[in-house]
């Protein structure tokens, strides 16, 4: 089998994964994108391992490791998603702008409002993906 | 003779204050911290004097040395060494730190945080001494930078309590200008490294002639502008009056007495030792800027309504003298620059102590606020102020004179490859600057010390202040009457590779 088959497949999957991470609004979808990227990497690892015939099976072992890490990641990611949902009442990624660089005063205001009505979703540019 | 380096004396000078700065603030009581710091500073002072004596008796050779590998991949070492050029500056730094700490003992800043302030002062001491004794370009640069941040904190946090935005602005301005300067300096260092393949100062000195002259000129210019921001050379002086007028007393003292010296020391060290050929080409420009600084600083002082700013501007003038001395590229110029450096450190530190005391007592350093007749309101304070002013205006018999005199003498007969007539003009203009200096100091004394006394009394000098000031007064007189204390090595210096 040409080595390029799995490689091209993994490249395309990786591209789709990045697209999902960059373009989809819902946090869980973003996590799915990450999974796609990780799988693309795994495919690469396995393909190279098959090609190289490594005595230590490093490709496959690393693929296993990646899967384990992916599991850990999804667990943590999920916890974060839930926490975000709890505090913001939505998990709309591009509506979360707390990292924006604003003047000190503004940021302080925001902090203050966040503390006073936590959970009320004070972000002004919140959009659609909110539960009905 | 016992080689002191076997005792780790040099390491102690650098590491002692640094370790102290890290550990001492752990003591709970800020007074205890200051006391312990004074003890440490005394030890550093003693070791530094011992070191100076050693250097003197070895005719200025590098008797105290130490060398340890630091970053092997870059061939960077902890190379420390002290010679006749750096030894007096190390002693000066140790002395001024000691004086500052003593001054802090009973006069903790109102805003608190004495322990932190003491720690920062010790860091400044460690960094400054380290810069003076570093013989490795990277080490020099790192220690040079180490001094800046603590000073920024000192100005921004403990500065003028009545003007918070002002002191922050002053502190940032100081930081930005000097960091810009050191960036240029770093470029020069990297150029040197790429030319000669080493960061070792001694090796650089040996191989300096290999660099072709175009490159040397470029490096000399970079060094001039880089250190010039620190000196500060006109027209890069604009940060100085602000920084001085907003800094707390100890900050001003260290800034004028130690930090400005880092610039002139660096220029002396690298221009004379490493790129003499290039420096010769650039020297007249440095001399011209120095002279402009002398006259400009003096004129600025004449129209100055604030005593602390006045002294800051007078620093611009005095450092102009040092720059002029450096630019003559002769052993005499070297001796003059070194002497003027130390003399300015001692006298201006004293002036800042006194003016700081006045400012602390009346709340501001404007002539209008201080009021007239200080001679009557607090005689000793006024007397010390008058003596320091007289020393600063270069009266023969006090420390200020010899540096300025030797500078003008060096300008009278500069290096043979330099334009003689130009330097003659420099000398005359510097002389004019001396007269203007006299005028503004006399006018300042007249405005503050003399006249019908204002009604409010001003507390006179107290015991702890005497302790902090007297060493400086004594040194002013000693250096004035016995200039050989500093000039013993002038002929030794003549052996330096100045002549290309």
């Amino acid at each position: 089998m040409p080595l390029l088959f799995p490689l091209v497949l993994s490249a395309l999957l990786f591209g789709i994964g990045t697209y999902v991470v960059m373009a989809r609004r819902h946090a869980v979808l973003v996590l799915m994108g990450v999974e796609l990227m990780l799988n693309a990497v795994n495919l690469n690892l396995v393909a190279f391992d098959a090609w190289w015939h490594d005595a230590l099976d490093s490709g496959q072992v690393l693929a296993l490791f990646v899967i384990a890490i992916a599991a850990a990641e999804i667990g943590l990611g999920l916890a974060i998603v839930l926490l975000v949902f709890r505090t913001h009442q939505h998990i709309n990624v591009d509506a979360m702008r707390e990292l924006a660089d604003r003047d000190g005063g503004q940021r302080a205001d925001q902090e203050a409002s966040k503390h006073t009505d936590r959970g009320a979703g004070s972000s002004p540019d919140r959009v659609a993906v909110t539960p009905p | 003779m016992i080689s002191a380096s076997s005792f780790g004396g040099l390491e102690f000078l650098v590491a002692g204050p640094a370790v102290g700065a890290a550990l001492l603030p752990l003591l709970r009581d800020s007074r205890r911290v200051t006391q312990a710091a004074i003890g440490l500073a005394s030890a550093v002072l003693a070791v530094s004097i011992w070191m100076w004596v050693d250097v003197v008796s070895a005719d200025g050779a590098y008797v105290w040395q130490s060398n340890a590998s630091w970053i092997a991949a870059l061939d960077v070492h902890w190379r420390l060494g002290v010679d006749d050029l750096s030894a007096p500056l190390v002693v000066l730094t140790a002395l001024l730190t000691w004086c500052c700490l003593v001054a802090l003992l009973k006069r903790a800043p109102d805003c608190g945080g004495t322990s932190a302030l003491v720690g920062l002062i010790l860091v400044i001491e460690a960094g400054s001494i380290g810069t003076f004794v570093a013989l490795d370009l990277v080490l020099f640069f790192v220690l040079f930078e180490v001094v800046l941040i603590p000073m920024w904190f000192v100005i921004a946090a403990w500065g003028d309590p009545h003007d918070e935005p002002g002191r922050r602005r002053a502190a940032s301005r100081f930081l930005v200008v000097t960091v810009t300067g050191s960036a240029l300096m770093l470029v020069a260092f990297l150029l040197l490294r790429s030319e000669l393949g080493t960061f070792d100062l001694a090796a650089l000195t040996e191989r300096a002639r290999v660099i072709e002259s175009d490159r040397q000129i470029l490096i000399a210019v970079l060094l001039m502008v880089g250190f010039g921001a620190k000196i500060p050379m006109w027209p890069l002086h604009f940060w100085l009056p602000d920084a001085h007028s907003k800094a707390p007393t100890v900050g001003s003292v260290l800034l004028a007495g130690v930090l400005l010296k880092l610039g002139t020391y660096g220029l002396l060290r690298f221009w004379y030792d490493v790129v003499p050929v290039g420096a010769l080409e650039v020297a007249p420009y440095l001399g011209a800027l120095g002279v402009v600084g002398i006259v400009y600083g003096a004129l600025a002082c004449l129209a100055q309504p604030d005593l602390k700013r006045l002294i800051a501007y007078s620093s611009v003038g005095h450092m102009g003298f040092v720059a002029l001395a450096i630019s003559t590229m002769t052993p005499q110029g070297l001796a003059a620059a070194n002497f003027a450096n130390v003399a300015h450190g001692v006298i201006t530190a004293l002036l800042f102590f006194v003016v700081g005391a006045v400012k602390d007592r009346v709340g501001d350093s404007g002539f209008g606020v201080i009021g007239r007749g200080l001679y009557a309101r607090s005689p000793h304070l006024a007397a010390v102020l008058a003596v320091a002013a007289v020393a600063s205006l270069g009266l023969p018999g006090l420390a200020g004179f010899w540096g300025e005199m030797l500078t003008m003498l060096a300008a009278y007969s500069p290096h043979p490859d330099l334009p003689q007539t130009t330097y003659l003009v420099f000398m005359v203009l510097a002389g004019l600057g001396v007269v203007l200096t006299t005028v503004y100091f006399v006018v300042a004394v007249r405005k503050v010390c003399q006249g019908v006394p204002a009604s409010d009394a001003v507390t006179d000098v107290e015991a702890d202040e005497w302790v902090a000031w007297l060493p400086l007064v004594a040194l002013t007189v000693l250096l004035g009457l016995a200039p050989m204390v500093m000039l013993w090595s002038a002929d030794v210096v003549a052996a330096l590779p100045v002549t290309p």
């Binding site: 979360m96 | 018999g397 013993w488």
Partner: protein, 623 residues
């Protein structure tokens, strides 16, 4: 011993400073005792050099400078020995006098300390064998005079005068410093004896000599208050009167004469410098004598007379008349100290310095009157007194040169000016003497007049001063009277000048007596009023001192003040906006870039990936 002369007063100064404020008696004691000890040492040395003993030297100790080394050393020869005796003697008398004059003044310890320091500095100038050490003494004297003149620093004229004195002398001193550079580099040493040897051996070229001596002359002119730096001396009069005596008689102003005398071998190498010196001397001699004629302040009259008499000494020196100049310096030292101390006694009695408010004090102050009369007579050049002979020596030098010397033209110039000056001197001395002691008593309205030196209110009836003040007067009157005996002895101080030049002596005597007679006549005719009225409109010009200060104000002070303001404006309105501008520009560019950081994490990720891809592409293409 020599070092002791310098160090003893310094010790006195330190003791007075440290202990004087605690114990009232220590300060005067320290001042008088150390100065007396110093005088004793000076006398011992002086007797050693009375004949023609060779110079004794101490040192030299070498200070390396990286160039020509400085050789610190002391050296005493006949000239310096006589100057030492003069300086320490006057200083001692001034110290004794001050004990009473400034009794109860809280600033007395500082005052004594400064006087001691002043004495030490003058001694250092005289005994130093190195130009830089000499400069140290020279300038320490300057700063001491600055502090002493501003003794009454509450008073505007005192502050003003002190600043003026210090700045003007220091202006000259810069020239002096450059002169030292030139001469030192030319001679290859800064040692005075070395310089003189070099000059005599001809290893200094005439050009170098001209430049260096002219530059040195700047300092001399500043210190000795000669034209064009003359105007500080009269303005220094608000200082306490004993200080005026010290500055004017034996120390500061005399230092200039001493220096030119000491370096005369270099000066004679340069015709230009000598001609300039003659010109300065002639202008100053006549100008200041004229101003003395119109001044309405006793101390100011004396101050101008000092300037004028110093000009005589410079005139003699400019004709290489070394002996005559020193002779006049010594005799002037004696009678001017006497005059100032006596003036102090008068001021002490009446509480004002204005001539217009004195008069008729002969009866009230008999001893002051007698001694001051002797002083005035010596100044005016009345025969048996020392002033006549010393002035005659100066004129004699001019006469010799005019008749058959190498400086004929200048000899004539100095001779004519000197004779005119002698007449003017006699006239203003007589005028002052008449206005102070004779005639009716004019209003002693006890208002503390401006510039009165301590503004103390005095008893309505003037009374004689205590003996502590009168003693020095009497002691000083003696050399004025019997000094002529010493002067007339040929070979005094190794001076080979002929004791008397009859033709000149007769002419000058005639002129002086004529001037005295004319003044007395005018005074008598005007009914005991100020004879200066006879000068008419010219009096205003003279009293305004030729508007010299206004000229200085317009030509020098105003431009420098203007440039200072320009620099200050430059700092605040040109430099500052640029600095601020850099700040603002940075802020704005930061704001421009900030929209990228809008908090949208997905956009951040996109940027990062895009950047990574772009980097990879660039690197791939590059290889």
């Amino acid at each position: 011993m020599t070092l002791g002369i310098v160090l003893l007063p310094v010790i006195g100064a330190v003791v007075a400073m440290l202990a004087g404020h605690r114990r009232e008696r220590i300060a005067p004691l320290a001042g008088v005792v150390t100065t007396a000890a110093s005088l004793g040492a000076a006398l011992v040395i002086g007797f050693g050099h009375w004949g023609d003993a060779a110079a004794s030297a101490l040192g030299p100790y070498e200070i390396s400078t990286g160039g020509t080394p400085i050789l610190v050393g002391l050296r005493v020869d006949q000239l310096s020995a006589s100057m030492l005796v003069l300086a320490t003697a006057v200083a001692l008398l001034v110290q004794v006098y001050s004990v009473s004059y400034l009794r109860g003044d809280p600033r007395y310890p500082t005052y004594t300390a400064l006087v001691c320091l002043f004495t030490a500095a003058m001694s250092l100038v005289v005994v130093s064998d190195d130009l830089f050490v000499l400069l140290v003494g020279w300038e320490v004297m300057g700063v001491c005079s600055y502090f002493l003149i501003s003794h009454h620093w509450e008073l505007e004229p005192a502050r003003e005068g002190a600043v003026k004195a210090f700045v003007m002398t220091r202006l000259g001193d810069i020239g002096f410093l450059f002169g030292i550079f030139v001469i030192g580099e030319a001679a290859g040493t800064y040692q005075i004896s070395g310089v003189i040897t070099a000059a005599e051996a001809g290893s200094i070229t005439s050009g170098e000599a001209t430049i260096s001596t002219l530059l040195l002359l700047c300092g001399v002119v500043g210190k000795s208050a000669q034209f064009p730096l003359h105007s500080w001396l009269p303005d220094a009069m608000p200082g306490p009167t004993p200080i005026s005596a010290l500055i004017h008689a034996a120390t500061m102003v005399a230092a200039g004469v001493y220096l030119v005398a000491r370096l005369l071998p270099v000066y004679v190498l340069s015709d230009v410098a000598m001609a300039v010196l003659s010109g300065i001397a002639v202008i100053t001699m006549l100008g200041s004598a004229l101003m003395a004629l119109a001044a309405d302040d006793l101390k100011r009259v004396l101050a101008w007379s000092t300037v004028s008499q110093l000009a005589y000494m410079f005139a003699a020196l400019s004709l290489a008349g070394y002996g005559a100049a020193i002779l006049h310096l010594l005799s002037h030292g004696a009678f001017k100290a006497l005059l100032f101390l006596a003036a102090g006694s008068v001021i002490h009695a009446v509480g004002t310095q204005r001539l217009g408010q004195m008069g008729g004090l002969r009866a009230a102050l008999p001893i002051t009157f007698t001694t001051m009369t002797i002083g005035f007579a010596a100044l005016a050049g009345v025969p048996p007194l020392v002033g006549f002979f010393s002035k005659d020596a100066v004129l004699g030098v001019a006469y010799e040169q005019a008749m058959h010397g190498e400086y004929a033209v200048r000899g004539w110039l100095v001779l004519v000016a000197g004779l005119l000056g002698a007449a003017l001197t006699a006239a203003y001395s007589t005028r002052a003497w008449l206005l102070v002691f004779l005639g009716p008593r004019r209003g002693s309205t006890a208002e503390p007049s401006d510039g009165a030196d301590n503004g103390r209110i005095v008893a309505a009836e003037p009374h004689e001063s205590p003996w502590l003040m009168l003693g020095p007067l009497v002691l000083l009157a003696i050399p004025c009277l019997v000094g002529s005996w010493a002067v007339l002895r040929p070979g005094f101080l190794g001076i080979e000048a002929d004791p008397l030049h009859l033709p000149v002596a007769l002419i000058s005597l005639g002129l002086a007596l004529g001037a005295i007679a004319a003044t007395v006549f005018a005074w008598w005719q005007l009914g005991a009023a100020d004879p200066a009225v006879r000068l008419g409109k010219f009096r205003q010009v003279l009293a305004g001192e030729f508007h010299y200060d206004a000229l200085v104000e317009r030509v020098i002070l105003r431009p420098s003040r203007f440039s200072a303001l320009a620099v200050a404006a430059n700092e605040s309105s040109i430099v500052e906006p640029y600095v601020q501008g850099a700040d603002t520009a940075t802020q704005w560019s930061a704001r421009l870039l900030r929209w990228l950081h809008d908090g949208n994490l997905q956009r951040y990720v996109t940027t990062v990936v895009l950047g990574a891809v772009a980097l990879a592409v660039v690197i791939g293409l590059a290889q």
